[in-house]
Amino acid sequence: MGDGEWVSVAGFELALDRCYQPDTHMWVLRDEPGRVRIGMDALGIETSGTLAELSFVEVGTELTTGRPFGQLEAAKFVGPLTSPVSGRVLATNHEVAMDPGLAERDPYGAGWLIEAELDKTGGELSGLLAGRDEITAWFAARIADYRLKGVIAE
């Protein structure tokens, strides 16, 4: 786990010290001004299945909100890791690329995916969910929806 406050919502851990992109389950943690760390939340990891592979674009690559910054493979299904921000990749997590299980074991801490410098146009995080009430309500509703649809077990 990361160092910040977190809660358990219907059996899934949720870190409260960061923002979330609700559709892709990517979290964004401000590191220092203009700089963020990005990862996938516990629910996103769970619905992906057992992670077999993770790969990332190279350091220095420009990021665009909604576009891939890498690929995830689980259950022989390769899909995009979608960027929640625009900017530039500063670092990729070599450890998690070598051991994708790290993202399952510690999604908010050692299982981070990339670090990025935010686009200077500003407002990059404005479309993301933030704050304890907003993110816990979204997370709980999403879990209930996934359980209703059979995406995750009861």
């Binding site: 077999a52 790969s55 070599h94 995406v151």
Partner: protein, 342 residues
């Protein structure tokens, strides 16, 4: 009015086109072309790597000596041997039409395939690992992926299966692992005696019914044809073959044991540590067959192999601890394997 399920049967195609045709469709569906079910049959044998897999998983000499082209696809799964005795199918839908979560999505897109097998007289089932099986044997290989805004699942009807070649293309640790891989492949991968025309017709009906779409014959759009030529170039480029996703994994795989998945929960490993060598076939977590070598075993090799056979692969440590220093070396070799993510 029902949406259209475009159906395209490309017939026989070159190894390259047997991949690039359906990738081009994915790009087309991504920007508005209708959902598409396509078929093709490779005109020559070749080898195909999943998006993330390394060239070092293949026996390059064997592939070259047998004239096997090596291609890389954009969807997942391991290295596979493909030939004209396999009818390929691909179902491609806009991502918005596919359920959230990989398992529900794959189940939705594989169940019509099972229906097609059953229509052809083969009582196939989709098992808990999302593999299409007849008894214990996998009878259909598949891979899946999201390409831009389209989701595609591709698979094959295996009319005949060349187990020897399918094993031969793989880079394995030693002859023991090769023998074990071949034995498990013969046991757990099987062809399905289904008339391909019946299979194709049944699959079109099954997908149309499952999706609520109207199946209509179609052809590539202009955009898809343009994309096809670009993909032909991309797929034959050195950079693509080396693998955009595979580069960082080469080092990882070299650090670990050589592992080969035969089907879900069935795999072999070959590993060495400090002069000790193990090769084992693992069936649902249990060591099914094993060969060990260590210069310090002094005639107790068969005793070690008997002790290991039939035990869980993750509990070899206590058993091998009873064989002194050679046992500890063998345990370290086993420890390099992690079949859970294969």
């Amino acid at each position: 009015m029902a949406e259209t399920l475009r159906v395209i049967d490309f017939g026989p195609s070159s190894p390259l086109r047997s991949q690039t045709l359906w990738h081009a469709i994915a790009y087309g569906v991504s920007v508005g072309a209708p959902a598409t079910l396509s078929f093709t049959r490779p005109a020559a044998p070749y080898v195909c790597l999943g998006y993330h897999r390394g060239l070092d998983e293949l026996d390059a000499d064997y592939c070259r000596e047998n004239g096997l082209t090596i291609l890389r696809r954009m969807v997942g799964g391991g290295p596979v041997y493909l030939d004209p005795d396999q009818l390929f199918f691909q179902i491609c839908l806009p991502a918005r039409a596919v359920p959230t979560g990989r398992s529900p999505a794959l189940r939705m897109l594989l169940e019509p395939v099972v229906t097609a097998f059953c229509a052809g007289g083969v009582p196939a089932v989709l098992d808990d690992d999302l593999e299409i099986c007849l008894g214990d044997a996998k009878i259909c290989g598949h891979g899946a992926g999201q390409i831009e805004q389209a989701v595609v699942v591709c698979g094959n009807l295996i009319e005949r299966f060349d187990h020897l070649r399918a094993t031969g293309v793989l880079a394995l640790a030693d002859p023991d692992q090769r023998d074990q891989t071949l034995a498990l492949m013969r046991r757990f991968v099987a062809p399905a005696p289904v008339d391909p025309t019946v299979f194709e017709t049944a699959m079109i009906g099954a997908f149309a019914a499952a999706l609520g779409f109207e199946a209509m014959p179609g052809e590539l759009t202009r955009m898809e044809r343009t994309q096809l030529h670009a993909l032909d170039e991309q797929f034959t480029s050195e950079s693509w073959l080396t693998g955009p996703g595979a580069r960082p994994l080469v080092a990882r795989r070299r650090l670990r044991a050589r592992q080969v998945k035969v089907r879900a929960r069935i795999w072999t490993l070959g590993a060495t540590f400090d002069g000790a060598r193990v090769a084992a076939g693992v069936v649902r977590g249990t060591i099914d067959q094993v060969r060990v070598h260590d210069p310090g075993l002094n005639g107790s090799t068969r005793q070690v192999e008997r002790a290991l056979t039939g035990i869980p692969v993750d509990s070899v440590g206590p058993v091998l601890a009873g064989f002194g220093e050679p046992g500890r070396r063998l345990a370290s070799a086993f420890a390099a394997a992690d079949g859970g993510r294969l």
